[in-house]
Each structure stands twice: as structure tokens, then as C-alpha cells.
């Protein structure tokens, strides 16, 4: 069997149903094999989009996303997508072609040292040196991608390896002597945590993306029902705990709710669940939650005590740890604390100015929420659109909010929406975009139309790069350097690609336009002409303490 056949047979063994990518010279033997394979191939129009689509597919389904590109520029174009997946711990396998083995290092046509380039942005990567190792490498790659703290794995395949012959033996077992993630939490540490919780007066749960990756939302719900401890989540934790639950505080951090930030700053115990105390969450580290003891549950030991020192670290799969804790947990006496939080919620609600005929972007998000009954998968680009999507759509289920949290990649949302839609054809998929971000991968309209992915894109069009403009307004004396956009006619663009475009200029048109779009079984661009100088509030300035919030309206 040739290397290319081994690859395709191995992908089938791994139950890969869809592959996003772009062909080229050094992957020709692989594409020849794919031609008749029982795997759906989706041709994106840029390799970056193939990586984002594989990422969106992985986030929406929980399966490993797979993408493929040729050597040189094919591989380098995947880089942003791989880095995006790495920062957010998304299981992905990226396959790249490479120039033939004998030419490696000779600056051959379309040669790039892609294993060298992707070393710091993959969980692990491989250059296949012998076709006899190929099946084992693929097996290891899928195992590494989905186990432990998931992440992207790259396999670089020289063209001659694709053509060389070997016997196909797909290994049943994995034996990597250096890799043994810890899944069960240490019982002694769990005991200490339970004790600390029982003694706490002002506890708070701070849940992140790890909760969703682990599939621990039911365990968290049980934990909260038993303890009545309020929950705040990170951006990537949205959907891990129902936003409309009485004990939900929504998102914390730079653009979090005031009550979440007040609560975490005044807490005496933080139970961190699959979160990593990112700078967008903590604000100025030395002033973060000064009275709080910290219990930190995470599968990755490097996340523990990296930014904030943990008092009770528990390494393991948060689903298993929470399940173990649920067996023994006793509720703390925290009525006064709950009352205080309730007061904050009433005093500082998440709100915006919603009068007159102008279209406020927050209003658009609320209308999308109502029209989709909260059941859609929402993807976002990066910037104001992302923060409003996080604040004003109520997420009830895990894997329904897909956003580039760590790397903050503009251009992520649209191709990720296509990947999510193809993985979850039963769902409505909405990309909340800005007029800047959408243009970073707008060519994927062809992919959406061609692959019959009827994704809806809400462009919150304020004719500028809103978040950067907001910072310029607040911190750079309104000098709008490089942030004012001249845009194409998005309706015509959509139509030219064979999709549908709708322009919305008045508030009363918002809801009908969304309803109309939902009835169209095609990709739709909704071009909402929103208030240009609307800001995302509340806001904690970069490097400030969470206490120093700018509240906007208040």
C-alpha cells in the first residue's frame, strides 16, 4: 500500500467524516487517493479557512477536526488557524505535504520548514521520515490531539513518502512512554478542597474552556445545585453553565459583568475549573482577588500557579474531579454572600442605551437570541462583535459559543461557522461579525455556497474597526488612526458569490430580517448598519485592576 493509501485508510479508521483543505503539488498523491474515499472533502478558498473550519467543526462536535494543505505556502497559510486552535486547546490534526525527502533543506520550490515553524504552536508535530512509521504516527497524532489537554498536531508528509510502499497495520494500542496525562484528581487534594469549600463564606466558581472540553457541564450543574455557589465563566466557558440560571454571573474580566467582577474581587475562595487566569480575566495580577484562597482544577499542570498561585491545586480531568467532589460535598453557609451578589446584580445590570430608531449592535444580538430561541451555535470574529455576542446572547448549552479567545483571530468566525454547520447540520449557525473581520475570510462565501452550509452572518457594520477605535477614543484622544473603513457593498458581494444579502437600516427592520434569513436555506449576509461610535461596556482598561471598571452608562 502507498503512503497516501495508508493515510486515507488511517483517517477512515479514525472515523474522520470530513476533511477541509486545499490541494497542491506535494499532496497530489494524497488527493488522488481521496478522490474515491468515503470521506467528504471540503475545498476552502484559502488554507487558513481550512484550519478554522476544522477548528469550528471540532468545537461544535467535540470530535477531532482535520485539515490538509500542500507544502510551503499551503502550510504557512495554515499557521494562523493552527495557532488559534493551540491557544484554545482544540483537537485538530493538520496534514501538510512536503517536498521529497532528498530535496528537504535545499530551498526547493514550495519548501518551508513547517515542523520548525509550527513547533511552538502545536501540541506536537511529526515529519514522516519512513513510510513504515506512517500509520503509527497518524494513530499517535489523533490520540495526542484529543487526549489530555487537547491541541493541534501537525504531520508533515514528504511527497516520496506518499508514494512509497509499506504494509498497512493500523496499531490498536498506543504506547508513548513519555505521555501519561493525569485524569483522576488526587483524593487528598479533593478532601482539602471540600474542607475549604465548607469553611468558605464568600466562594465563587470560575469556569473556563476546560469545562466544555471535558464535557463536565452536568457535573458542574450538580455541584452548584448542591452548594449554591455562584458561577462566573470566561469567554470560552460560555455555555458550560446556563447563562439564565439564577446563580450565573455571566462572564468576568475585561468586558465581564460588574457583578461577576465585584464577586470575584471580594470572594474568599475561588474554585477555578478548567480556566487559566488569563490576563483578560485577572486584570492587574497583584490586585486580583486579594482575600481569596484558590482551588485550581486543571488537566494541564503548567496552567496551575502560572499567573496566580494556587493554594489547592488538583491536576486532572475536571469532569472526574467534579464527580468525585459531588459525592462528598457539603454546602457552605453563604446566604449573606448570595444576598450581596443579588444586590449587585440588581444594582449593576448588563445594559445599553436602547432608545430611538438607531440600530444598537447589542439589540441585534438580543433579537438573534430571541429569534433562534437561544438554540443556535454562535461563532464570532474578534473585537466588539465578539464581546457583544458574549454579553447579549444567553448560552444554555456547551459547544454553542465558538470564538477565538486566546489568540484573538479576526477572520475566524465565518470559516468556523462553515465547519460547525457541516458538523451539526441540525443546528442554526450564526456568525456574529464586524465589517472589518468578515473581510478577512470573505472568500469563504464560495465554500459556504458550494458545500451547502446555510450559515447566517450578522455583520455589525459600524464602518470601522470598532474595538481598536474604542481604545483610540478612550486612550488615544480620538485619533482614529487606521481604523476607519471603506467597505464594499456586502449585499452585492453576497449575491455575487451566489448567497443572499440583506441590508438593514432601521431598528424595526432588524427582527423581520433575521426571521427572513432563518427561512432561507442558503448562506445569508445580514448587513446591519449600526451606531458607529457604540462602545463595549463595562470595561477594565488594560493593566488595571478589576475594581477599576468603566461602566459606560452608570
Amino acid at each position: 500500500m502507498t503512503g497516501a493509501e495508508i493515510l486515507v485508510k488511517s483517517l477512515i479508521k479514525e472515523k474522520v467524516e470530513i476533511l477541509f483543505g486545499y490541494p497542491g503539488g506535494s499532496v497530489l498523491p494524497i488527493f488522488d487517493e481521496l478522490f474515491e474515499a468515503p470521506i467528504r472533502f471540503v475545498l476552502t478558498r484559502h488554507e487558513q479557512a481550512a484550519a478554522h473550519a476544522a477548528d469550528g467543526y471540532a468545537r461544535a462536535t467535540g470530535k477531532v477536526g482535520v485539515c490538509i494543505a500542500t507544502s510551503g505556502p499551503g502550510g504557512t497559510n495554515l499557521v494562523t488557524g493552527i495557532a488559534t486552535a493551540y491557544m484554545d486547546s482544540i483537537p485538530m490534526v493538520a496534514i501538510t505535504g512536503q517536498v521529497p525527502t532528498r530535496m528537504i533543506g535545499n530551498d526547493a520550490f514550495q519548501e518551508a520548514d513547517i515542523t520548525g515553524i509550527t513547533r511552538p504552536i502545536t501540541k506536537h508535530n511529526y515529519l514522516v521520515e519512513d513510510v513504515k512509521d506512517f500509520a503509527r504516527i497518524i494513530k499517535e497524532a489523533f490520540y495526542l490531539a484529543r487526549s489530555g489537554r487537547p491541541g493541534p498536531i501537525l504531520i508533515d508528509v514528504p511527497k516520496d513518502i506518499s508514494m512509497a510502499e509499506a504494509e498497512f497495520n493500523y496499531p490498536d494500542e498506543i504506547d508513548i512512554r513519555t505521555y501519561h496525562p493525569t485524569y483522576d484528581g488526587h483524593p487528598g487534594q479533593i478532601k482539602r478542597a471540600i474542607l475549604a469549600i465548607a469553611e468558605s463564606k464568600r466562594p465563587i466558581i470560575y469556569a473556563g474552556g476546560g469545562l466544555i472540553i471535558s464535557g463536565a457541564n452536568q457535573e458542574l450543574k450538580e455541584f452548584v445545585e448542591k452548594t449554591r455557589i455562584p458561577v462566573t465563566t470566561t469567554l470560552l466557558g460560555l455555555g458550560g453553565f446556563p447563562s439564565n440560571h439564577k446563580l450565573s454571573l455571566g462572564m468576568l474580566g475585561m468586558h465581564g459583568t460588574q457583578y461577576a467582577n465585584h464577586a470575584i474581587m471580594e470572594s474568599d475562595l475561588i474554585i477555578a475549573v478548567g480556566a487559566r487566569f488569563d490576563d483578560r480575566v485577572t486584570g492587574r495580577v497583584k490586585d486580583f482577588a486579594p482575600q481569596a484562597k484558590i482551588i485550581h482544577l486543571d488537566i494541564d499542570p503548567t496552567s496551575i500557579s502560572k499567573n496566580i498561585k494556587a493554594d489547592i491545586p488538583i491536576v486532572g480531568d475536571v469532569k472526574r474531579i467534579l464527580a468525585a467532589m459531588n459525592k462528598k460535598i457539603a454546602p457552605p453557609s453563604i446566604e449573606k454572600w448570595q444576598k450581596k451578589i443579588q444586590d449587585w446584580k440588581e444594582k449593576y445590570p448588563l445594559t445599553y442605551k436602547n432608545d430611538g430608531q438607531d440600530i444598537r449592535p447589542q439589540y441585534v444580538i438580543e433579537q438573534i437570541y430571541e429569534a433562534t430561541k437561544g438554540a443556535a451555535i454562535i461563532t464570532t470574529e474578534v473585537g466588539q462583535n465578539q464581546m457583544w455576542a458574549a454579553q447579549f446572547y444567553q448560552y444554555a448549552q456547551p459547544r454553542t459559543f465558538l470564538s477565538s479567545g486566546g489568540l484573538g483571530t479576526m477572520g475566524y468566525g465565518f470559516p468556523a461557522a462553515i465547519g460547525a454547520q457541516l458538523g451539526r447540520p441540525d443546528k442554526i449557525v450564526f456568525d456574529i461579525a464586524g465589517d472589518g473581520s468578515i473581510q478577512m475570510n470573505i472568500q469563504e462565501l464560495t465554500t459556504a455556497v458550494g458545500s451547502q452550509a446555510p450559515v447566517k452572518v450578522a455583520i455589525l457594520n459600524n464602518s470601522c474597526l470598532g474595538m481598536v477605535r474604542q481604545w483610540q477614543e478612550l486612550f488615544y484622544r480620538k485619533r482614529y488612526s487606521g481604523t476607519c473603513l471603506t467597505n464594499p457593498d456586502f449585499v452585492k458581494v453576497a449575491e455575487a458569490f451566489g448567497a443572499v444579502g440583506i441590508e438593514i437600516n432601521k431598528k424595526e427592520e432588524v427582527r423581520p430580517a433575521i426571521e427572513k434569513a432563518l427561512k432561507i436555506n442558503k448562506p445569508v449576509f445580514l448587513n446591519f448598519k449600526v451606531v458607529e461610535e457604540e462602545n463595549v461596556f463595562p470595561m477594565v482598561p488594560a493593566g488595571a485592576s478589576l475594581k477599576e471598571m468603566i461602566s459606560g452608562l452608570a
Binding site: T178, D300, P301, T302, S305
Partner: protein
Amino acid sequence: MEHTISVLVENRFGVLARVAGLFSARGFNITSLTVGETEDPSVSRMTIVVEGDDRILEQVSKQLNKLIDIITVQDLTKKGFVERELILVTVKADSKTRPEIEQIAEGNEAKILNAGKDLLTIELLGAGKQVKEFIELLKPFGITELVRSGRIAVGKE
């Protein structure tokens, strides 16, 4: 504070680049790094001397452990170790200073490998502190070239 870390790694293409990349990407400072095969040819040992406080060392050790090709990471500083470094140093020596240099070499059990007209090349094998002091002693004479092997270390029982 200086820490000596002993790391067992898969003896495989690209592992050194992974380790070096990790240190540079995360801003950890390497004082010295040596690599060589162990008694098991599939395994190499890296001895890395790192500068940093306990918090940094904890991260260094966790981050190294996270790399797939790394087998074990041990901070030898915690439990005591013996270490050696080999240096070759060429120093200016005229008829007046030569006896003095030879005396310093003898006092440190260093060997004179090559004696030229105006230069002496000396080999010293020693622990970190001894090497440092030896170099300081030779500096006033004028060191023209210094070659160091980097430190290797073994933990004590």
C-alpha cells in the same frame, strides 16, 4: 538562583530544537546546556543550568514535562549533585608571567596542553565554582580564547 536540571529525552531528530525553542519562547535564561546519549541509545540526557526563582523553575520543569519527547525532568539542585565542566583556555604568557601561570595551573590540577612562544593553552576539569575562580585568576594575564563544554551533572544518592 542557579538550578541544574537533568532531563531525559527521546534521542530523536528535533528534540533539541523543541527544548531550545521552549526556553526562548517563554523567556527562560539558559546558562549552559549539554546533550549526549545515555547508556540506552534511544535516550539522551540534557543537563541544563537555568537562572531563576522557584516560581520560574516550577514553570520550566512543568513546561519541559509537557513536551511529548521528554521522558523525565529532575531539578538536581534540590537533592544535591556532583558536576563537572571542561574548559580550554588560551592565555598570554611571556617569560615573566609564564612561571606564575604554570603555578596557578598546577595548583588547580589543570594541564598545559600547548605551550607557544607567547601563549599557553590550559585544560581544566572542575565544578562550576572552581572553573569560575580559575578563569578569574587567569584574566589579569589576558585570555585570548575560552572554550567551555557546558556543565554535566549527576544527582547524589
